[in-house]
Amino acid sequence: MTDEEIRKIRKKNNLILGLILVAFVALVFSITVAKMMGGATLEAYDHVRRPQLEDIK
């Protein structure tokens, strides 16, 4: 394999890897947004008494 061929393959591989990384970042962002929209586990104390979070016996 000539230097030129190696350079070409390397460039192509780097480009594909770059695109995969961008897609991965976009996916993680989308997962975060989807999870936050679900909001199922986001309830927490915010300096106000929240009776629904306390054990009522």
Partner: protein, 316 residues
């Protein structure tokens, strides 16, 4: 792993060779069965999370494929069917295959946990471990039952999909698992009948090598009979219905007839026609699984649209 195997690895390789490491054809079956498992599960899942879950289950399958190629490079280089895989052909080094497999395992399990739930992630981790360690490293080279027990690795994806969506294992998930688990032996033994030379040369104790082809033909028939109740039984769970039931009856009968045909054939006839019926059964078995899972998908679609053909009993 022996020293004899791998051709010199070039410094730079095409990206496509790394994709081949992940066994894309196996991945496509995993994507399909996992997606069906996820879609037919009760409850609704955000479409982004569902997509991500299936993607990470597929990546997990790819990771185990890469680890398998790293470990099996020595025998892959002997078998005609696998000689052109990236590691034995020298396109990717064994070490790189191992690193890709390990990092992708960590990534897929971690991300599936974040996208869905940690039970699904744990099941995926176990699936990767089962395929790479229990099957590839241990069973494959040590027992003719390799395919029977190792089949569990391929049977987990729909269960992982189900758990990703519903958060728990149930009878339906076990039913889908059993369907693929019982389907795997006749599927692979049909392949082994016409690929026997490969396995024999590589010293893999496939049933065809250790017990002969006659015994393998008996086993194919026996396992197809054992598969049938699991295939039809799934119709009477919450994910089954009349369409799945009808299809499972027809396909099971066809599978049984095909196996019976192989059972009645001998080596002389099979060699003369270049294993035509064995090849047919192997191809048919792929269709069988694909159509049954498609039927489950149709049943789920009909349920979601509230379309009911007839009153259907749910026994399990």
């Amino acid at each position: 792993m022996t020293e004899t195997i791998i051709k010199t690895t070039s410094d730079q390789t095409d990206f496509g060779n790394y994709i081949s490491l992940l066994k894309p054809r196996v991945m496509s079956l995993v994507v399909f069965t996992a997606a069906v498992g996820l879609i037919v599960a009760p409850g609704s899942m955000n479409v982004v999370l569902a997509f991500a879950s299936v993607l990470f289950i597929a990546l997990g399958a790819g990771a185990s494929g890469s680890l398998n190629m790293w470990w099996d490079a020595d025998i892959d280089s002997i078998m005609k069917r696998t000689q052109e895989r990236p590691v034995p052909s020298g396109k990717v080094s064994a070490n790189n295959a191992m690193l890709v497999g390990l990092w992708m395992s960590v990534l897929s399990v971690g991300m599936l946990g974040l996208a869905s739930n940690w039970l699904a992630a744990a099941l995926l981790a176990f699936t990767i471990f089962f395929y790479a360690v229990i099957y590839s490293m241990w069973l494959k080279r040590s027992t003719p039952q390799n395919i029977v027990i190792g089949g569990a690795a391929g049977a987990f994806p729909p269960m992982v999909g189900w758990v990703a969506a519903s958060g728990s294992v149930s009878i339906e998930a076990i039913g889908m698992f059993m369907l693929i688990f019982m389907w795997t032996p006749p599927h692979f033994w049909a392949l082994a009948l016409f690929m026997n030379e490969d396995y024999s040369k590589a010293g893999i104790p496939m049933l065809t090598v250790t017990h002969g082809k006659k015994s393998t033909r008996n086993h194919i028939l026996t396992y197809t009979v054992l598969l049938t109740p699991f295939s039809i039984g799934l119709a009477f769970t919450s994910i089954g219905g009349p369409i799945y039931f009808t299809l499972s009856i027809i396909l099971s009968l066809m599978f049984l007839l095909g196996s019976l045909k192989l059972f009645r054939r001998n080596e002389k006839i099979a060699t003369e026609d270049n294993y035509t019926d064995e090849r047919k059964l192997f191809k048919f078995s792929l269709f069988y699984l694909f159509l049954l899972f498609t039927a489950l998908l149709i049943e789920a679609l009909m349920r979601s649209l509230d379309i009911s053909l007839i009153a259907w009993p749910q026994v399990f």
